[in-house]
């Protein structure tokens, strides 16, 4: 590769990197500025819809005593048709509980039809997976996850726990009542 080619390629890369940096920065800021759990969940939905290209999302909570998983919140998923625990599977569960993302290129739903790409992202706090973000079926114009998506997964894994479940969330969190959607198991 000559210098010009190298420069052109570098310039192209830096454009994509700059967009990715802006995306990560906006996601980080949105989570950090969340005012309570309900707003943090909405922020998570916005991040997944706008930056990752999916409008079928779920959040599983991990019982820290029994390690059982329970659906905590979902958006755009028909629970009759799509079982998040079944979609995650045992192997996926083991990976995510160990702190790794579990990304599948295709999976079968209950009817046997092929679903599109899905990802399960561990939400970590103090070296433990306390919840799992499930991202199912990408929008038609988005065909797969790429390297920049993996960086966003990492950010969500490392930084979403406190806004979503932290005890020192901003004031609105203290005012929430048990009948808010985000509080229902």
């Amino acid at each position: 590769m000559n210098d010009n080619q190298s420069e052109a390629s570098g310039s192209k890369r830096s454009g994509a990197d700059a967009t990715n940096d802006l995306r990560l920065s906006a996601a980080r800021k949105r989570l950090a500025e969340s005012r309570g759990q309900e707003d943090a969940i909405e922020g998570l939905r916005e991040i997944v819809a706008n930056f990752l290209g999916s409008e079928e999302i779920g959040l599983l909570m991990v019982d820290q005593t029994t390690a059982a998983l329970q659906v905590f919140w979902s958006f755009g998923i028909d629970p009759e048709k799509y079982d998040l625990l079944l979609a995650l599977g045992d192997a996926g569960r083991e990976r995510v509980m160990g702190g790794e993302c579990h990304v599948e290129l295709a999976a079968r739903d209950r009817s046997g039809a092929m679903a599109k790409v899905q990802a399960f992202v561990p939400i970590r706090l103090a070296n433990q997976t306390i919840a799992i973000l499930a991202i199912l079926r990408l929008l038609p114009q988005k065909h797969a996850f790429d390297g920049s998506d993996m960086e966003l997964f990492k950010l969500l894994s490392d930084e979403a726990a406190m806004p979503l479940f932290g005890t020192h969330s901003k004031p609105a969190a203290d005012e929430r009542s048990s009948d808010e959607p985000g509080m229902r198991a």
């Binding site: 700059a18 967009t19 906006a26 949105r30 916005e46 819809a49 290209g53 929008l139």
Partner: protein
């Protein structure tokens, strides 16, 4: 004088990202609105050079806001770019019928967005 873009989105996250792209990668001035109704009002007050607008929003969606802007003399000629998660052809067709000039889908590619805006406004 810097060209002015009215960015409309009910998602704080999307607005944050779109605003960052415009502020860091262009010389355009950016004003914002959180739904279609506010967009119609701001378009009449601010006279932007272009409107970049989400489709699915509360109170008034992007298609309706687009139609409203096309009915007012002061906003009739402003280029409108709709931006949405929905990429189906029928949906895009509805966008063009509402009077938009262009349509882009999320997730946004920063370089693609800047190039599109520059095609209307220049650098």
């Amino acid at each position: 004088m810097a060209k002015k873009i009215l960015v409309v989105d009910d998602s704080k996250t999307a607005l944050m990202m779109e605003r960052e792209i415009l502020e860091k990668r262009t010389n355009y001035q950016c004003v914002t609105a959180a739904d279609g109704q506010e967009a119609v009002e701001k378009a009449q007050q601010e006279h932007p050079d272009l409107v970049l607008m989400d489709v699915v929003m509360p109170r008034m969606n992007g298609f309706e806001a687009c139609k409203m802007m096309r009915q007012h003399a002061s906003t009739r000629e402003i280029p409108i770019v709709l931006i949405t998660t929905r990429g189906e052809e029928s949906y895009m067709e509805a966008g063009f019928q509402s009077g938009c000039n262009d349509y882009i889908t999320k997730p946004i590619d920063g370089a693609e967005l800047v190039a599109l805006l520059q095609s209307y406004l220049g650098e």
